[in-house]
Symmetry: C2
DNA sequence: AGTTTAATGGATAACGTTTGCCACTGTATC
DNA sequence: GATACAGTGGCAAACGTTATCCATTAAACT
């Protein structure tokens, strides 16, 4: 790997000048010298050492991402958004999986700091009462006070910048939509208990049901994965009657619910209407009714905010979610009577 | 952030000694001094500067990952495997999306080298005839010769270490399995044309069909995503008769095929048997017949190989794939006559 | 002519580590 | 008693950059 000094020597200038030419500097350099340095760099295949730059400038162009589960499209899309925007700004993204475990999050957080990350993005929400949460919060708060940009893309108990979707409203609107189709027996399949974002979604669901004087039914306390949805359906089927509609805490669970229903011979949406939250790519192909959270955009916002440090300190607004109706059907008995959104088929 | 010098001062020793205590060194340090340094580090909250270490040692504990599409579970699982194993070895994973574009791959590759990554993992295969492939290969070969560990987890035209699954055999075995169920009219829904890994799978399929004297039918030349599978099915349905079985180039496409069939009212596996390749989490919930590629393990192997540089130079074997029968059914007309694997339902 | 000013380039001191080399102990060996 | 040697610790030179000062020149003012 060619160094700046070698380039400087070849171009017969000082390292200072070479540095000024090759990496942005306000210091003026005459046109011919600039060109000779550039050609020297070209022939030598010069690549700046990020390590040296980071050491010198006390911060590297690194954005750390702490995700709960990269296999969940929710986090994959977030990560993707971060990566794209980061790359635009010349930043690089370090990915860390933490499996929703505060201890692991803390470890990863520390590693990210060792690497002088300019900013760190927490993608998932925290879990109420999970051991290690307090220690994590303390450490994060320390880092924030020390100037590291920390962004949380979900509800979190520490003092970071927060860019979060209104989970409560998303779930509320979605449930209202299902109600507006005439359904009354709507179940909510929620994933991990304690996960703040999920709890908020449960609350939104309950409120909508309460307002409609419909009986809420929340079940499922496994994970946030497809398998969890499938298990919940198996449970529902075993228990007897299926609800008219099922609202899921996220798209993955919803897809699992679809799989469970389909493989058990039920027809969607004729027998049951299913909805998810997230708007991830995985649900789209099934025509899943969902609330699209602009995840890629959300991640991009976080990355841009971090990359822009120094300059604009204004915290970006969280983008709006949007209801995306899929293949749901109006309730059979009240069909036509209620304000119907119609049945949209693919 | 506390520095080594501060720790040394507090412990009343030299930086050298502090360094030796805090970061592994063969140089012996007496027990009491070691302890006082450790406690000093503790109280100061010392965190080593990865940048300084990288600069000094000319290589940082970074593994770069160049993925085609992090939203595809195939790459997500690979990435996950890499990340887990990397973390175990104290390495950190930089994620770069390159969208199967050699130009982007080259850019990302360069950025990764700037960050002195100890190794770089290419997750996806290359695309024959894609512009920029030659330049990428040249650059990679240069890096390899310069000592950077480059690992390809799919067929690639450059001189990197390769740990690749036998795509040809995977597809061949899978097709043979479908044939063994008595199916004759088996279509192959292949994704992107030119993608080496896919081409190999097509060949495996063709060979199995040839050997069975069945008529091959390859269609679909969109992407590798669920949507592509759905489109292919729409095409098949519009064209008239559906095949008895559909083998897909990957699980994502297969899931899309399932979605297309289900939402069009077909029953799986009674009407059509569907199979994918990959064994990703996404297919599991549907009981998809697939060839499980040990992706997490594969990624882990790459990471371990890179992290182990210096020591063991032996290139790991690619792990074996395995056929995972799901909800497929024997052909109706020959049911019972052929060596039947039976119908496995979930 | 004297003086400010802008434009340009060079030296050089950091940034926080690691490590090769030397120095100083004791203790064992001849 | 001289020599060797293992055990410890410190000094100081890197690693590749950037940024702060200076130095030089030339142009543009009084």
């Amino acid at each position: 790997m060619a160094t700046l000094r070698e380039v400087a020597e070849l171009a017969a200038v000082s390292v200072a000048t070479a540095s000024r030419v090759l990496n942005g500097s306000a210091h003026p350099v005459s046109r011919d010298i600039r060109e000779s340095v550039q050609s020297a760099a070209q022939t030598l295949g010069y690549t700046p050492s990020a390590a040296a730059q980071a050491l010198k400038q006390q911060r590297s162009k690194i954005i750390g991402v702490i995700a709960s589960d990269i296999l969940d499209p929710y986090f994959a899309e977030l990560t993707r958004g971060i990566e794209i925007e980061a790359a635009k700004a010349g930043f690089v993204t370090i990915l860390a999986n933490a499996n929703r475990d505060p201890e692991q999050e803390r470890t990863k957080f520390r590693v990210l700091r060792e690497h002088q990350a300019s900013g760190i993005v927490f993608c998932g929400s925290d879990i109420e009462g999970s051991p290690g949460t307090a220690e994590l919060a303390r450490e994060v708060n320390l880092a924030v006070r020390a100037g590291t940009r920390v962004v949380a893309l979900a509800p979190r108990g520490f003092d970071s910048t927060k860019i979060v979707i209104d989970n409560h409203a998303a779930s509320y609107e979605l449930t209202r939509y299902m109600l507006s189709l005439g359904h009354r027996r709507i179940a909510f399949v929620g994933g991990m208990p304690g996960l703040t974002a999920v709890e908020q979604r449960v609350i939104g669901y309950r409120r909508a049901m309460f307002e409609a004087q419909a009986l809420p039914m929340v079940l499922g306390n496994a994970g946030m994965r497809q398998e969890s949805g499938r298990e919940a359906v198996a449970h529902l089927i075993a228990a007897g009657e299926l609800p008219e509609a099922i609202v899921c805490a996220n798209d993955e669970i919803a897809v699992g619910v679809l799989a469970g229903l389909w493989t058990s011979g039920y027809r969607i949406p004729d027998d049951v209407s299913v909805a998810g939250i997230g708007g991830t790519r995985g649900g789209a192909v099934f025509g899943l009714t969902t609330v699209t959270l602009p995840l890629v955009e959300l991640g991009g916002l976080a990355a841009a905010y971090i990359a822009d440090a120094g300059r604009s300190p204004k915290i970006p607004e969280a983008p709006q979610f949007e209801l995306r109706p899929g293949t749901t059907t109006a309730a059979k008995d009240t069909s036509g009577s209620s304000r119907s959104y119609g049945r949209s088929t693919l």
